[in-house]
């Protein structure tokens, strides 16, 4: 079990996993979002290679209506 912060909320993950798996787990289409991993932006192309570790902080954002 690892502890992570996603979009400001604490979450527990069963195991270390990469961003692609994380998005899949949350049922989020990766092509519609951007991810900031410990304040660093993660290129979409590397989602599969970036592992989430204990204590990591993630921001997962997308576009919504705004003016």
């Amino acid at each position: 079990m690892i502890n992570v912060t996603i979009n400001g909320d604490a979450h527990r993950l069963a195991e270390e996993l990469n961003l692609t798996d994380l998005l899949a787990q949350f049922d989020i289409e990766s092509d519609k979002v951007a991810i900031e991993h410990n304040l660093a932006i993660v290129p979409k192309s590397t989602f599969a290679r970036v592992m989430i570790g204990d204590g990591d902080t993630l921001e997962i954002v997308h576009f919504i209506g705004g003016g």
């Binding site: 996603i6 991810i35 290129p43 576009f63 705004g66």
Partner: protein
């Protein structure tokens, strides 16, 4: 006659940019945007609600391949927040065109110009094409153009106020001095005000509330579509001179 809006090297037929906020639902957003004829839509960057997977998303209603998404930094009160937001936006959407707005306070949502200038410099260095929300100060506008912003967007009046073009002289002078597109951003409340903005020589108008909070948003969107074309044509045509007294339109000769 071909009269296109060119921003950051890309051509657009419509000179109206619309926001996508404040609508009842995505259906209404979609139909209003279609009625407006806009090719560029502003969008906000926000956290995904991971507790509700599979919620409908804006992109399902406005195809990013059909519309140019213009991510904004609404809600950012420092340059750093704005830069961070737009870096994420670029990664999320994969495009460089962005709308920078660094706000000064909650009450007025007036731009904080020093923060805006610094953020613009950073973004431009990183290769962004920056359309920048700014005050109606011609000197500030020139500074923003000089550091490389691709469009200057002075406020017509306070965001969401619908008070129209408060300072036509300021906007007119910004247009006269600018070598990049100038768009009135915020303040327009109804169609005649959108036309007036274009008659001042602006290259375009950006609005959201005037459409979204109209009694009938789709109908108002169509009104704005026509109004921007009307104002543009009137500007290009050149209006009649004003006269202090009357001037008959029918010849006096040949009266019975």
């Amino acid at each position: 006659m071909s009269d296109k809006l060119i921003v950051a090297g890309k051509e657009y037929n419509s000179r109206l940019i619309v926001g996508t906020g404040k609508y009842k639902n995505f259906e209404e957003t979609k139909h209003a945007v279609e009625a407006s004829g806009a090719e560029i839509v502003t969008v906000a960057v926000r956290r995904v609600n991971i507790s509700k997977p599979g919620e409908p998303m804006l992109v399902d209603y406005l195809d990013p391949k059909k519309y140019t998404y213009l991510p904004n930094t609404a809600g950012c009160f420092t340059g750093d927040e704005a830069v961070r937001t737009l870096r994420l936006a670029r990664e999320a959407g994969g495009f460089n065109l962005v709308k920078l707005e660094v706000l000064g306070d909650q009450k007025t949502l007036y731009p904080n110009m020093p923060e805006t200038v610094e953020a613009a410099k950073t973004l431009i260095k990183e290769g962004f094409n920056v359309m920048v929300y700014c005050n109606d100060d011609p000197i500030q506008a020139k500074i923003l153009e000089d550091i490389g912003c691709c469009a200057i967007m002075p406020l017509g009046s306070l965001i969401g106020s619908g008070l129209g073009i408060q300072n036509p002289v300021g906007v007119r002078i910004i247009v006269e001095n600018a070598n990049v597109p100038v768009l009135v951003d915020a303040g327009v409340g109804t169609a005649s005000e959108a036309a007036q903005a274009m008659e001042l020589g602006c290259d375009g108008v950006l609005m959201n509330t005037a459409i979204a909070e109209a009694g009938n948003p789709i109908l108002m969107a169509r009104a704005m579509n026509h109004a921007v074309q009307a104002g543009r044509d009137a500007y290009l045509a050149g209006r009649m001179p004003k006269k202090r007294y009357a001037d008959p339109s029918s010849p006096l000769a040949g009266l019975i």
